[in-house]
Symmetry: C2
Subunit: 347 residues, 2 copies
């Protein structure tokens, strides 16, 4: 065990991951498209007059204001973070006493359990149904029985692509005494009206998390935000590190949300690419599960993963219980075709 | 109390701070000089080809490599963070069990106690001597008696400007069973050889923290690093959030460390400005304490603070026990003169 490490972290290992910049990269749910030329031009123009020698605005007010305007909420309803990851950590850090229960459907975004462990919480995983859709009845039963301090609902779900309807989320909110975190990182890709943002002020235990990493193609900038009633925003601000979002990411995020039409159009293009990918996979006899996000979830014959990697085609491999599944995000049509061509001889 | 908030955080309030962009800003120990023109030109050139749509390298390897090269250590001896703040949090988060003791001299950097409280530790403050120099004997006594899990030594000290000699730090390292964090955020401004970086591999309980926010004039980029033996770096990497440093800050930090001569020259200029400020203050009958950093520490007549603020001259006010002190960082000669002119009629 690493010297000085807390005993309860003994099983944890330092996290590392290769930085891929070449090949067909379909393993991180990133946008296959570069940022818009207009944004590059804007940054070239701004970079000289940003006050880089000064600490950034600790409250990211310009960005928060732009977010508030788009969603028709008050600036007091918004908090910005280093991706939504940091906000997940702040939510858990501000609320969890040692051993407190946290609920997540399973499988879902791995950082929920990672940050729960780091914040000394105890994760309760409620399995998805066998068709990888949410089991709302089971979730509500566990919520009523255990009353977890925090409940994570990823909508659409990473890595399976399934969704909750608004009514389903409302029904969970109504039985939950704890904080319900609705993570809408992928909501721009859904063709259904699922966002809970219009309802944040109707609940004192709801927060919606959003990120610029997916539909806005800005994963490299590491910026996200949360929208909730003012009391929940204050909760996060009590533990949020000062000056958390750097000045470049604040500027880029602000530009992006003010030009969201460009990105939403791109998101629709990515959904088309996902549909093309789904059809191509089905043509090969594969069975991707229905998805409302920018990726698909499926099983593949063994050895495909390694064979693809040899061709510099990267997809995500995940072990769920005793089975192996794969998550593949939509690439450009060209990238999708490279993947499908490669799969043709492998499946 | 904020709903859902952990009971032990009940006395904590959301942190906010005004974002100052105009006036004479001498309250945050920032550089009064903009970033070098060469860096602006570099960023304009790079911003179009940075892969902003991809997650950044989770290990900031390019930056870590540049840091390792400059300090003649291995890349395994380096970890990068969102300022050194994030690394302080990771050090405490990876080591502290509930109620574990942490030591800091007092006054020193406020984030040591802030992050200790957030990580459920118990802070022991060892007062500086009455002349605001470090009380090494007292520190060693408390270390031997309490054996804190983590010991923070800020060198030079923020906010007083005093320093430890290397021998003093070695003598603390030799009696400490816990992790000794030497925060060298301001070391570039010291005219003495104080850095412990050359000795990180001689100790399994030493880590040196560095930031780009001070001598490198990059506070807005929020990037810092830690240098330690590999085991201590692994400790931090066990809890460090993935993809913590965004792609812009990684690129800028890398450029900065590779062009450190530009910044070190600037640091010398800032030290000259501090000396000019000290002399000016003494000419007014004020008594700044000796400083090895880019700021001075002193008492001022009451009401000066508000009077300066009315003239848009910002300095830092701090309450230590029952007395009020002020920390003023060196500005440009012009800014120093504005402050000194204003003080002339106030003291």
């Amino acid at each position: 065990m690493v010297k000085f490490l807390r005993e309860r972290f003994a099983t944890m290992a330092p996290y590392h991951s290769a930085y891929l910049t070449e090949g067909v990269i379909l393993n991180s749910n990133e946008s296959p498209y570069s940022v818009p030329e207009e944004l590059v031009a804007y940054m070239k123009e701004r970079v000289g007059d940003l006050l880089v020698n000064r600490y950034p605005d600790t409250d990211s007010l310009e960005l928060a204001n732009a977010v508030a305007k788009v969603y028709d909420v008050k600036i007091e309803n918004v908090v910005c973070g280093v991706g939504s990851d940091e906000l997940i950590d702040c939510i858990l850090g501000s609320t969890l006493e040692d051993g407190d229960k946290v609920l997540m459907p399973y499988p879902s975004f791995s950082m929920y359990s990672q940050f729960t462990q780091l914040n000394s919480g105890q994760m309760i995983k409620v399995p998805l149904k066998s068709d990888f859709t949410y089991d709302v009845t089971a979730i509500k039963e566990v919520v009523c029985k255990e009353q977890p301090k925090v409940i994570f609902l990823c909508n659409p779900n990473n890595p399976t692509g399934c969704i909750f309807t608004r009514d389903e989320i409302r029904s969970i909110l109504e039985v939950a005494k704890g904080l319900v975190v609705v993570d809408e990182a992928y909501a721009e890709f859904s063709e259904k009206e699922i966002s809970m943002i219009p309802y944040v002020n109707d609940y004192d235990n709801l927060i919606v998390l959003k990120t610029f990493s997916k539909a806005y193609a800005l994963a490299g900038a590491r910026v996200g935000y949360g929208i909730a009633c003012e009391a929940v925003i204050n909760l996060i601000n009590t533990v949020r590190p000062p000056y958390n979002v750097n000045i470049f990411s604040q500027a880029i995020g602000t530009w992006a949300i003010e030009h969201r039409d460009i990105f939403l159009e791109n998101a629709r293009r990515i959904v088309d690419n996902r549909k093309m990918l789904e059809q191509g996979l089905r043509n090969l006899g594969l069975k991707p599960y229905p998805s409302e996000a920018n990726f698909v979830w499926l099983t593949l014959p063994e050895s495909v993963f390694e064979a693809l990697e040899e061709k510099q085609i990267y997809i995500r491999k995940m072990k769920i219980e005793d089975s192996i599944y794969y998550r593949i995000n939509a690439g450009t049509p060209e990238e999708n075709n490279k993947l499908l061509e490669a799969l043709k001889v492998l499946v």
